[in-house]
Amino acid sequence: MTEQELLSAATEAVVAANEEKACEVAREAVSLGLDPLRVINEGFTPGMREVGDLFERGTMFLPEVILASEAMVAAVAILEESLPADQREKTAGSVVLGTIEGDVHDIGKGIVATLLRVYGFEVHDLGRDVPLTSFVEKVAETGADLVGTSALMTTTMVGQKALEKMLKEAGLRDQVKTMVGGAVVTQYWADKIGADAYAENAQEAVAKALELAQG
């Protein structure tokens, strides 16, 4: 296999969500003595980017995206073994996530958590019906970059507003960004309560999270 063929095989393995094949390609790259970073950046990462595009366009299913990312993660782990520690991929950021107290709608929040993990975030998922104090405590404990909340009801979206205040009172608001989402939530609401971002769906949540974590 030429290097170019190997890079294409890496991309294909991720798009096909084939973990076995992805690992095989990674081991082959190691045995050929190729630059692991180049294989990650020009082989596997383009595969994941294509997966993201296919999902966005509605041609790929969410479970396939998850499998593809697992294939990617497994292959990268093999390649990183031959890299010095400081060159290994860092997480994209750390996120505390949960559905506001009084609200049990957690399916959308679960999808956001999954996709954030797919894109390399460390996610602390607090679950549903989460007391506001638990968000504050988790942010303090983990030093997370971002706290994402989900509210699907007119009765619980007020919790997102209250959380802004509580984070301020705890002296944490300057070090953590906030993102809000859920069926009843809008950009208007996010602006009104002073949240840093609103995301309409899980893909947008990832894009906003990447933006916020870098900023």
Binding site: F55, G58, T59, M60, F61, L62, P63, G102, V104, I107, G108, G110, I111, D129, M153, T154, T155, T156, V158, A183, V184, N201, A202, Q203
Partner: protein, 496 residues
């Protein structure tokens, strides 16, 4: 013209036209599968008082910190199924709106739960709902012939969040004398709603004799009964109300990706709630609802106007009929954002099977945007469509066979029927239309070439401007005000 209610309630429980999709042996297999799940997987229950009730009833309990895993033995489940009645009355505030739930009776209502957005009836703007919207929608429901009861179709979004549910009842009971369905948002609100219903019904005993409101509670998929659900249920039943178990899983996300798996899990969820309800008050009427739809795993959304909703509903309702339980189907809703062609197709895709399988309550009229947004035109058109669908399930009356043969012979080849007495006697039984257009094109053009939706908005505005619901008895509104104010003060104090 006879009202839909007298149609539904006066007709004997007759064989009706419909779908019989599953055989007895298949239903029994689904039942056994459900019993397996209720024992081996069990149900997660959060609230300790509810766990205690399950335990006292004979369930096996494993307490695990924030919740308990409750396993239900087959004997307990089957005994609960037997103790819940299949026939009972959904009382209207005005008894002329009573609806007798029994095999063969179908009634429609508007709203698929509690919509949070509405297309404004005057400006066409899409905006969050307020208490007045629920009052207006309910007033129209009160007037519509083919709406048999009023479901809470919008939320009082401008009211204090913790007590929006109580405001919802306040808005509804003042604007309809039909039976009301709504959720309570926890035991304390449920108690306030019971107190208000007692004031309206004329006292505690009167409400117990004639419960004029039913509480909707939601089991959470997979297999969980959260505190809000059980505390609302217990308070409502203790207050004399009946309950609806409104489970709604999304196939592929919170339930299996195959219809058979969805039906079994959904059945387990509603039966677990039924066991609790029967343990709180043996014989309390319970209506299991079938609302499970799907997750679109390509778009990460929960669409409602889909074949899966109808498949889950038909199978689930047949199961309830096998148990002699009453039935409720989620249907009529669309994922379209406006009352357009898709909305009409989506409506009928699910409403027709629900009616043909014989669901007692069918809800969802007026629902758009995957049940986020409510629309008045969709409500008016949906109510008319509900009437047409009900006509189909009434089927053909074969007792007229001999008379028809004699008639055909008498008129003979080349004759006509328009002037015959038989036609005169039966012509009022033929369907008619009000919003749906049957006119000749020229007449339609003369009337402005309007779409059905345009005419429906006009009709909704006409009803709002002219219909007066039956008033409450003297002194009742003051009592409602007082109960509402006290509950709101209590809730504000609790969060302060």
């Amino acid at each position: 013209m006879p009202s839909s209610e007298s149609h539904d309630t006066d007709r004997p429980s007759s064989p009706r036209w419909g779908i019989k999709a599953l055989e007895r042996a298949e239903l029994e297999a689904l039942h056994q599968a459900t019993l397996h799940v209720l024992w081996h997987a069990g149900v997660k229950v959060e609230d300790p008082p509810a766990v205690d009730i399950f335990e006292a009833a004979g369930a096996t309990i494993e307490r695990r910190g924030t919740h308990a895993l409750v396993r239900l033995p087959a004997s307990l489940v089957e005994e609960s199924i037997r103790s819940a009645p299949g026939t009972f009355t959904l009382h209207g505030r005005d008894p002329k709106h009573n609806f007798l739930v029994r095999p063969g009776a179908t009634g429609f209502t508007a709203g698929y739960g509690e919509h949070v957005m509405v297309i404004d009836i005057h400006t066409g703007e899409v905006r969050p709902t307020v208490k007045q919207d629920l009052a207006d929608i309910t007033r129209i429901q009160d007037n519509l012939e083919h709406v048999s009861f009023a479901e809470r179709a919008a939320c009082s979004g401008d009211q204090y969040p913790a007590v929006q549910a109580v405001h919802n009842y306040d808005a509804m009971v003042r604007n309809t004398s039909k039976h009301v369905f709504l959720s309570a948002g926890g035991g304390d609100n449920a108690k306030a709603i019971v107190a208000m219903a007692e004031a309206v019904a004329g006292g505690r005993e009167k409400l117990r004799e004639r419960p004029i409101v039913t509480c909707l509670v939601s089991p959470t998929s997979p297999l969980s009964l959260v505190t809000e659900c059980t505390s609302s249920m217990i308070a409502a039943i203790e207050g004399g109300l009946n309950v609806v178990f409104h489970a709604m899983s999304l196939s592929g996300a919170s339930s299996p990706a195959t219809p058979v798996g969805v039906v079994v899990q959904h059945n387990a969820e509603v039966l677990s709630a039924l066991v609790l309800a029967q343990a709180v008050r043996k014989g309390v009427p319970c209506i299991p609802a079938f609302n499970s739809t799907m997750m679109d795993l390509r778009r990460s959304v929960a669409p409602i106007g889909v074949p899966e909703l109808a498949l889950h509903g038909v199978a689930g309702i047949q199961l309830m009929q096998y148990y002699d339980l009453p039935t409720w189907a989620g249907a009529c809703a669309s994922d379209s954002k406006i009352p357009d062609a898709q909305q009409g197709y989506d409506f009928t895709l699910t409403a027709m099977p629900a009616a043909l399988v014989g669901a007692n309550v069918i809800y969802g009229i007026g629902a758009l945007e995957s049940v986020i947004t409510f629309d008045y035109a969709a409500m008016i058109m949906g109510a008319e469509q509900a009437g047409r669908i009900k006509r189909i399930v009434q089927g053909i009356d074969l007792s007229g066979l001999d008379e028809a043969v004699a008639l055909i012979e008498e008129v003979g080849p080349g004759g006509e029927y328009i002037t015959h007495d038989h036609t005169f006697a039966h012509m009022r039984e033929l369907s008619s239309s009000s919003i749906f257009d049957r006119k000749a094109r020229e007449l339609w053009e003369r009337d402005g070439s309007k779409s059905a939706a345009d005419r429906a908005y006009v009709e909704a505005r006409r009803i709002l401007a002219s219909h007066e619901p039956a008033p409450l008895d003297d002194g009742v509104t003051e009592k409602l005000d007082a109960i509402l104010a006290a509950r709101e003060a209590e809730a504000r104090a609790a969060t302060a």
